[in-house]
């Protein structure tokens, strides 16, 4: 029992007992809220039987008493008023300015405003992205005119990190996926007695589409996020500003080596993925269809047009460019808080994968038109 209420001739007598501390704050709040809102004329507060009393409890009690006082009640303390009251009086002396009521617009107006804001934001984003691409391309053009400013050690490091370190994962995934595709293809084609065409399916599929697309998606997940996170952390540490203050162009020092590095590394990884994919196909054909390795190669040479490999391969630098640009762009956008860093890293990965798939579709249409 924390609070005992007695009616007196002209009001209420509140007798506080037990521990009024934050450990029992829920009980305290409950017993205070059960009190009658109608203001009596006088209230006497008896703190003599209190165990502990802490600030949180006093704050709630004081708020309650204040409401009665505002309604015209006289409040007395039996004995000394607890010291915490003085402390609260002290820092609440300056009244908080009452917050101004915010006008809530009508529903249709709010909708219209949100709609308009969305498009204005889209316009700004498009402008910023175009600005970024422009800056990087300009910096690239300037640097190519003065090749000494090309940071070769930095480019080599990024080729190593995005390319060579990705070799095991890219090889394994290309191998496994082709295995599955060849297996499904063989099963379906068997029904027509055309299982030898599994070889066509695998070789054309891997060289034109699967090899480069798989590699690009893995690299987008690995390196797109790494680019965004690395540059984002540098932004948070003011390292990018430090570069600018030294007169070093951050696009030249941070962005360009990453873009060039990835544009070199991704095509090389694509060749690896193609090779591993063909190997997986050959292996499966041997196991499942009794197509020996020489037979597989002979059939493959029939299936391939001179352009098949190139149709896949020339997509790689384009994908690499998109991934590197998206990753570095999002990294450069990080401001102020580590929360932004996480968000923009995610955005970088999702967007670069989306852009890769979109660009792949565009390539498919172009190839169709020019009959490549």
């Amino acid at each position: 029992m924390l609070l005992n209420v007695d009616r007196t001739a002209d009001g209420l007598a509140l007798a506080l007992s037990g521990d009024w501390s934050i450990d029992r704050i829920a009980e305290i709040e409950r017993s205070l809220s059960e009190l009658d809102d109608a203001a009596p004329r006088a209230i006497r507060v008896d703190c003599s039987k209190l165990g502990a009393l802490d600030l949180s409890a006093v704050w709630l009690l004081r708020k309650r008493l204040q409401r009665w006082a505002d309604a015209g009640a006289r409040i007395d303390f039996l004995g000394k008023r607890p010291a915490h009251f003085d402390f609260i009086d002290e820092f609440t002396k300056e009244a908080e300015p009452t917050p101004q009521a915010v006008e809530i617009p009508a529903r249709w107006a709010a909708f219209l405003a949100a709609f308009g804001r969305f498009w204005v934001q889209q316009k700004e984003r498009a402008y910023l992205a175009a600005d970024y691409y422009g800056r990087v391309l300009m910096t690239g053009a300037q640097t190519l005119r003065h090749p000494k400013r090309l940071r070769l050690p930095s480019i080599a490091r990024h080729i190593y990190e995005t390319g060579i370190q990705a070799v095991p994962i890219v090889a394994l995934i290309a191998f496994l996926i082709t295995l599955v595709i060849a297996y499904i293809g063989a099963q379906q084609l068997k029904r027509f007695g055309a299982e030898i065409f599994t070889v066509d399916l695998v070789t054309v599929g891997v060289l034109r589409e699967m090899g480069v697309l798989l590699t690009a998606i893995i690299v987008a997940g690995r390196s797109g996020s790494a680019f965004a996170a690395e540059i984002g952390v540098m932004q948070l540490n003011d390292e990018v500003d430090a570069l600018k203050a030294m007169g070093i162009n951050p696009y030249e020092a941070l962005v360009l080596p990453r873009v060039i590095g990835l544009v070199i590394a991704l095509p090389l990884l694509t060749i690896l993925a193609d090779a591993m994919g063909l190997m997986g196909g050959a292996l499966l054909c041997q196991w499942l269809l009794d197509v020996s390795f020489p037979q597989f190669v002979a059939r493959m040479q029939d299936a391939l047009a001179p352009t098949t490999f190139w149709a896949g391969f020339i997509k790689a630098p384009a994908f690499a460019f998109l991934i590197a640009m998206t990753g570095t762009y999002r990294g450069m956008q990080v401001r102020d808080s580590s929360r932004e860093l996480g968000r923009l890293t995610t955005v970088a990965v999702v967007q670069s994968i989306f852009l890769v798939i979109l660009a792949n579709a565009v390539f498919a249409i172009i190839y169709l038109e020019i009959d490549f």
């Binding site: 709630l60 010291a83 580590s338």
Partner: protein
Amino acid sequence: MQPIISVRGVVNRFGTQVVHDGVEFDVYAGEVLGIVGGSGAGKSVLLRTMLGLRKPDAGTVAIAGKELTRMSDAELAAVKRSYGVSFQHGALFSALTVAENVQLAMRENFNLDEATLQALTELRLRMVGLPVDAGQKLPSQLSGGMIKRAGLARALALDPGILFLDEPTSGLDPISAAAFDDLVLYLQKSLKLTVVMITHDLDTIMTTCDRVAVLVDHKIIIDTLDGIMQNPHPWIHEYFHGPRSRAVRTSSQRNRTPKE
């Protein structure tokens, strides 16, 4: 007098590097203890040991007579609720608003309705001198001084009896730092808190600390403020009588109000 925190023979090592070698001192209820020491002397490690976040390689730490090193996790959690900590860089949760930061411990520990939570949050914000509308802001939108205050508000969320402050005034301009010192002193006097603070700020030591513990040679030398200033140890002498401390000392002796 029974000490509220007592540290006995604490040894902390990282590999072969010895940070603390038999650190011993007591903190008494109601005092403000300053911990000073050179960079890398292990002040933060000592703080983490006192908080029960780090198990010392040897020795014991007891808070209110109970040894942290021999506790079950549940007992340790109860002790952790009895103190508040304000970290050096605020350590505010960046994904939560200031108000949510303050409310977090209360939400975890008590089953409270929204209105009560709001009321208690308002109390914490106002007692550290933050405007109530600062509660809606994210930590990244606050200035350095406001982050320190918000960190203090969060440390005070459970009405602790002991307050640990890690470099409470670092990175603040002298005016904000002095205001923060006043705030800590004011809260300490009004709420009868025990305060343990790590600080490099000579002004803060002169104006707030009753006693000073100095970490030198992997040990603690602890004395009253006046006593430590007379200490003949060369590092301590240099610390309190070096060129940077002279100006502080003269100005603070002029302004210092006698303690009751």
